[in-house]
């Protein structure tokens, strides 16, 4: 079975607005009225759909505010290294993560703050990692590009373009060999399509029917090279489908559309349908990294995409449906800002690893010490 299909933006003219039905059709089995992100226990009058949207909004805002703080901290030289911001792409991490269970695995790239936070890694642990502190989620050895959390099955944090794909296939292979009904989700950019590792992995995944969800975040650029200048064929879902896997493209600026598509995919994968491919059409509002003067894009193009900001879009929709009042929004904003403030505070105060520990974790400790 192979299916290449574009799910157009629901804001596109002439397209019906299936947002709520989509959300209703997909069972949210792991959802309870208690929001895992906002910690809210009250069920608002608007009903469970509204609670869920509030969760999505809070999750996206949390990433947004976290990264905005990263910009300040970088400018103040408190954090260093290559820092790749996800601002504009939050709907993808949040939407996909909604479809994943704690026992699933996630493999990510160097632009992974959003994936890590959406996966539930505490902001404190991520921020401490940016500061290079022992309390960081990689003990200060990874930094912005190498976030890991074994307990949440978050396997990085890979800064080699396409390097995480074979690894994800292996995680999925292990599950397949042991009949574990788990999904491995691998995020990567459009740039990865030009690497052999993407194609080797796609081939392997279909051959071996691996429970793998490939999520391509197509933000139209690989550093400064536009999609049509780095891919001979720019229809990525079609190319993935050519390997014989189910492949969709989805509006990556619409968190509910992403969630809906991801749920369809993960449910099929859990049912044994093999690897699925999801192309999320998205855009990064900021430069490739903090070093990038962003000379290759028109300001006009960026502004055009900003009108489709995933956070604003969801807020607008919620306001339209009377699900979001100013007071509630202020509440969410306070909570996420507090969380980020606290993360920065604790990171700044967290201890640095003593230099004597430099050679730790090159190889595992000897058996008797383990």
């Amino acid at each position: 079975m192979s299916l290449a299909r574009n799910t157009r933006s629901r804001k596109a003219p002439g397209t019906p607005k299936p947002a709520k039905t989509a959300a209703k059709k997909t069972p949210t089995s792991k959802k309870s009225p208690t929001s895992k992100r906002t910690g809210r226990t009250e069920v608002p009058a608007a009903g469970p759909d509204a609670v869920h949207r509030m969760d999505l909004l809070a999750a996206m805002l949390r990433i947004r505010r976290f990264e905005e703080r990263c910009v300040e901290l970088y400018s103040a030289a408190k954090i260093r290294g290559f820092v790749h911001l996800y601002i504009g792409e939050e709907a993808v991490a949040v939407g996909v993560n909604e479809a994943l269970y704690p026992e699933d695995a996630v493999v990510s790239t160097y632009r992974e703050h959003g994936h890590a936070l959406a996966r539930g890694i505490p902001a404190e642990a991520v921020m401490a990692e940016m500061f290079g502190r022992t309390t960081g989620c990689s003990g200060g050895r990874g930094g912005s590009m190498h976030l890991f959390d074994a307990s949440r099955r978050f396997y990085g944090g890979n800064a080699i373009v396409a390097g995480g794909l074979p690894l994800a296939a292996g995680l999925a292979l292990a599950d397949r060999m042991r009949d574990q009904p788990r999904v491995t989700c691998c995020f990567f950019g459009d740039g990865a399509f030009a690497e052999g590792e993407f194609h080797e992995t796609a081939n392997l995944a279909v051959l071996w029917n691996l429970p793998l969800l490939l999520v391509c975040e197509n933000n139209l650029y690989a550093m400064g090279t536009a999609l049509e200048r780095h891919e001979a064929q720019t229809d990525l879902a079609m190319r993935a489908a050519s390997y014989g896997m189910v492949a969709w493209a989805v509006d990556g600026m619409d968190v509910e559309a992403v969630e809906h598509a991801a749920r369809r995919a993960t449910e099929a994968i859990r049912g044994g349908a093999g690897p699925h491919f999801l192309e999320a059409r998205t855009y990064r509002f900021r430069a490739h990294s903090m070093y990038d003067p962003d000379r290759y894009r028109d300001k006009e193009e960026i502004e055009r995409w900003k009108t489709r900001d995933p956070v604003n879009q969801l807020m607008d929709r919620m306001r339209e449906d009377d699900e979001l009042g100013d007071e509630e929004l202020t509440g969410i904003e306070h909570r996420v800002t507090d969380e980020v403030d606290r993360a920065v505070e604790t990171a700044e105060q967290a201890p640095e690893e003593p230099v004597e520990d430099l050679l730790l974790h090159v190889t595992s400790a000897p058996a008797e010490a383990r």
Binding site: P166, G170, T363
Partner: protein, 332 residues
């Protein structure tokens, strides 16, 4: 039992010993599986895994497409998820297509994750020249891997090591690369029971001696032993050290042998420039300079892509006569 009451020694080959090791590993632990190009139906391109598919099935003796990077990476992922994969790469030459996965993932994940993600993976591959396979099938690049922190590099040179190195390699929590020299597969000999675990932390002395140390590993061991035989006919008593583990190097064994013999010849089939032989020479200079009675000698491959023509290939590789000549220079 044989007539003299000693346990029977089994006649076997390096290839069969390796296969026995794989069979034992697959039987002992259901997390273990073998994966690589043609390991199943074909029986392994060097015949090492012949028959294992029938015994363990296609899930656990898993043929892969020609995708070195993907299946090595998949081995890493499977190891992270609790399996114990043994990945076979046909030769070290092809492992370069998987270099990214080995160096950037297998070797670094433990460290980058602050100790959270050990990668208990074994990768086996052949190395070396001597079979007229020309440049793209004959190189000895194990020294490159020995350069990389985070992986262990083994070179079984004997039938016993072929039989017994795999189990301790699989017991390691970190990635282990095993280099099997292509010219050793047909080596026949006797394997004495009972099975003994091989020490993968230390070098071993294959022949004790007092006058000069021949330090080597893998496919060059038989040549070094032959050289030692020849030297003994001249009254030169050579000690032959088999490094066995190329990373981490057994510094103590190297220092100790030089302290005994005061002369060293390093035999390494890789090119001299930037080789493991260069590293060992440097360590001897650092640690044992005052023990030396002669400059360290190196016998390495000529600095040329290994040629096809028999005479040229032989001339390119370290040969017994070269080792003997180097020993003569050192003994002076």
């Amino acid at each position: 039992m044989s007539a003299d009451g000693q346990p029977e020694k089994a006649k076997t080959t390096y290839r069969e010993a390796m296969r026995e090791a794989l069979r034992e590993a697959l039987s002992a632990d259901d997390r273990v599986f073998l994966m690589g190009e043609d390991v199943g139906r074909y029986g392994g391109c060097f015949g090492v895994s012949l028959g294992l598919l029938e015994e363990f099935g296609p899930e656990r003796v898993r043929d892969t497409p020609l995708s070195e990077s993907a299946f090595v990476g998949a081995g890493i992922g499977a190891a992270l998820a609790g399996m114990r994969p043994i990945v076979e790469i046909m030769t070290v030459n092809f492992s370069l297509l998987a270099l990214d996965q080995i160096v950037n993932n297998a070797a670094t994940l433990l460290h980058m994750s602050g100790g959270q993600l050990p990668v208990p993976l074994v990768i086996r591959m052949t190395t070396g020249a001597g079979r007229q396979l020309a440049a793209q099938h004959s190189h000895s690049l194990e020294g490159w891997y020995a350069h990389i922190p985070g992986i262990r590099v083994l070179a079984p040179a004997t039938i016993e090591d072929a039989r017994h190195m795999l189990a301790p390699a699989l017991a390691e929590p970190d990635p282990v690369l095993i280099f099997e020299h292509g010219s050793l597969y047909n080596a026949a000999g006797e394997l004495s029971p009972p099975a003994t675990a091989v020490d993968i932390d230390h070098a071993t002395i294959r022949r004790p001696g007092t006058d000069i140390s021949l330090i080597t590993y893998g496919g060059s061991l038989p040549k070094a032993l032959a050289a030692a035989d020849e030297l003994s006919t001249e009254g030169i008593n050579a000690e032959v050290v088999d490094l066995r583990t190329l990373r981490p190097l057994d510094d103590e064994a190297i220092t100790a042998t030089v302290a005994r013999t005061h002369r060293a010849v390093i035999v390494d089939e890789a090119w001299r420039t930037g080789s493991l032989a260069a590293e060992i020479s440097a360590r001897i200079a650092e640690e044992s300079f005052y023990e030396l009675d002669a400059p360290v000698e190196r016998v390495c491959s000529a600095e040329v892509p290994i040629p096809y023509a028999r005479r040229l290939e032989e001339a390119a590789l370290p040969q017994t006569a070269d080792i003997v000549a180097a020993a003569h220079r050192a003994v002076g």
